[in-house]
Amino acid sequence: MSMTDVHSAPRANHGADWDQIRRRAKSILVHGIVLALVGLMLLPLVYMVMMSFKTSTEIAQDPLGLPDSLYWGNYMAALSSMGYLRSVLNSLGITLSVIVVVVFAGAMAAYPLARLENRISRVIVMVMALGLATPNFVTITPIYVIFRDLGLLDSYLGIVLAFAALKLPLAVFFYTSFIAAIPIELEEAARLDNCNNWQIFWHVIRPLLAPVTATLSLFVMIMVWNDFIYPLLLLTDKDKLTVMIAVYKFVGNTGIDPTKLFPAAVLGSLPLLIMFALFQRKIMAGATAGAVK
């Protein structure tokens, strides 16, 4: 290899320079585009945070400028009157419960669906796919009626069950495709290693699902955290409201007060951002995982 390098180097020298320049230019261009896109996406976030630190006079006089100083008054007002802590705890509790139910039920439903080759399992997978394709609004009325009849309105259990049912198709889909990619020999080896079906699932399949579970959890977390319809539909007790509903109630629906809207929006999405930052590495690992080998 070094021989050819030595011989071809003088001849290729001129071309190599140009190649290098072209490659460098391309790299700069790509990075520039990426940076611009990132900036574009961050802009609303930055604007939101900026605005949340301005007094109402500042906002009126200079809506696009930087705040003169970090004015915490908006936050004080929001925190004192929107029941923030309580609603964050509600959202956290509901979101995590939904994730737990969806992950367990989803993985355990997906395992046989991925492995059994018969008509029934194919039909179930198809029904699940329909669940994925059903628009959110279609389910509002039936869910309300069913939960009213079950006496599950205005209860944590009700909202968790509703979300779990709505997100289960997604989980089953995630897991069936992932489990189908796990070589069957692993299960056969486990069978020879004395495992029954449950032990195969627990000791062999479940550990392999960890990365995809992280990704799925993120999806479910964002969807449940930000969901507006179902908490509004199913919860009425002021002490059970989720963050998004608290934000909505605090901002009000008669007119928009920027000194309320922006701090409330920041507070509403802050816990999600923190959680994402904490689990980022795990989530990215899941997103790029897939191959078991």
Binding site: P183, E185, L186, E188, A189, A190, R191, L192, D193, N194, C195, Q199, H203, V204, P207, L208, A210, V292, K293
Partner: protein, 361 residues
């Protein structure tokens, strides 16, 4: 340790039958190799023995136990998979311990057995690694280690070396053979590579289309094959077959003429009843040709393959599809495109029925 017996074992997938009534006896401590072309049912038969596939009909015993429909874990078998099937999330030690742990073996005993197996397989330095961080050969060893610690009556290997490069394959071949001696266990080994079969086996089982064509020690299959298929499959380079016609028969001998070799007449010892004019085939291995052989034939050499110690001459025309392969030793160095006169001893020629493919003895 125990012997294994299959009695008219049949496997059907729905209406498709893939194993057609296999009878097989593997003695205690034997190294038995299933060999045959791809798709002949080797893996299926092995998986039936492992219990990973149901046996549709027939009976299977290991030692004195009837295991025909027993749970895989209750059969006293271990299997090494072609893809190794190591648990990716477990370390080498965990991979090897897993079966014992599930089976409820006490911790101290697990550690002892696993350490012992690791010693035998030279895995001691890798015990805390995940399979991902191992080379192909090391993974192979872990898979074998996982099989060893369970101390099975019968070891099952499904093409365990086919994912390794040539050099490693030879190395592992020797190691598995050594391991067999060391453990004295009954082993059943599936391969499509007849060299692996010849070098490792105490007993070779040649399969074709879900049937046993012949089973026996390697030397017997090589020297005394039952039919054209086995004769052609065992041995590399393969046996030459020449179309012939029975000229006449007399007490214990038949005179067969070979039009494709210039009409030479070959006297073959045979007790089976033959009639003059019957179509037969004569089988001659490449090494059966010698310059001074009793029956001389003229060949036109097309290609010479020189392997150093020996070389093989490929001669045109005498057979229907395959060239005639002649092993050349010593100093005689014919040239490609040249003529070669070789002889053979009719006593080594094998006679087959052209129609049934069966050996005529």
């Amino acid at each position: 340790m125990a012997e294994l017996a299959l009695n008219n074992a049949i496997k059907r997938y729905g209406a498709t039958q893939v194993i057609h009534g296999v009878d097989l006896q593997v003695e205690d401590g034997d190294f038995c190799v299933f060999v045959g072309p791809s798709g002949c049912g080797k893996s299926t038969l092995l998986r039936m023995i492992a219990g990973l596939e149901d046996t549709t009909e027939g009976r299977m015993t290991i030692g004195t136990r009837d295991v025909t429909h027993a749970d895989p874990a209750r059969r006293g078998v271990s299997m090494v998979f072609q893809t190794y099937a190591l648990y990716p999330h477990m370390t080498v030690r965990e991979n090897m311990s897993f079966g014992l742990k599930i089976g409820g073996t006490p911790k101290a005993e697990i550690t002892r057995k696993v350490d012992e197996a690791a010693q035998i397989l030279k895995l001691t330095d890798y015990m805390d690694r995940r399979p991902k961080a191992l080379s192909g050969g090391q993974r192979q060893r872990v898979a074998i280690g996982r099989a060893i610690v369970r101390q099975p009556d019968v070891f099952l290997f499904d093409e365990p070396l086919s994912n390794l490069d040539a050099e490693l394959r030879v190395e592992m071949r020797v190691e598995i053979a050594k391991l067999h001696k060391q453990l004295g266990a009954t082993m059943i080994y599936v391969t499509h590579d007849q060299v692996e079969a010849m070098t490792m086996a105490d007993k070779i089982v040649v399969l074709r289309d879900g049937r046993i064509e012949q089973a026996g020690p390697p030397a017997r299959l090589y020297e005394d094959p039952d039919n054209l298929f086995v004769a052609g499959f065992i041995g590399s380079p393969r046996m030459n077959f020449f179309e012939g016609v029975v000229e006449r028969t007399e007490s214990g001998q038949a005179l067969v003429s070979l039009p494709c070799l210039g009409g030479v007449a070959v006297p073959v010892a045979v007790t089976a009843a033959l009639r003059p004019g019957q179509a037969v085939k004569i089988g001659l291995r490449p090494e059966h040709f010698e310059p001074g052989g009793q029956i001389q034939v003229d060949l036109n050499i097309e290609v010479i393959e020189n392997l150093g110690g020996v070389s093989y001459a490929y001669a045109a025309g005498a057979q229907d599809t395959h060239p005639v392969i002649v092993e050349m030793r010593g100093t005689s160095r014919p040239t490609e495109g040249g003529a070669l006169t070789m002889g053979f001893d009719p006593a080594v020629a094998l006679l087959f029925d052209s129609e049934t493919g069966l050996r005529l003895r």
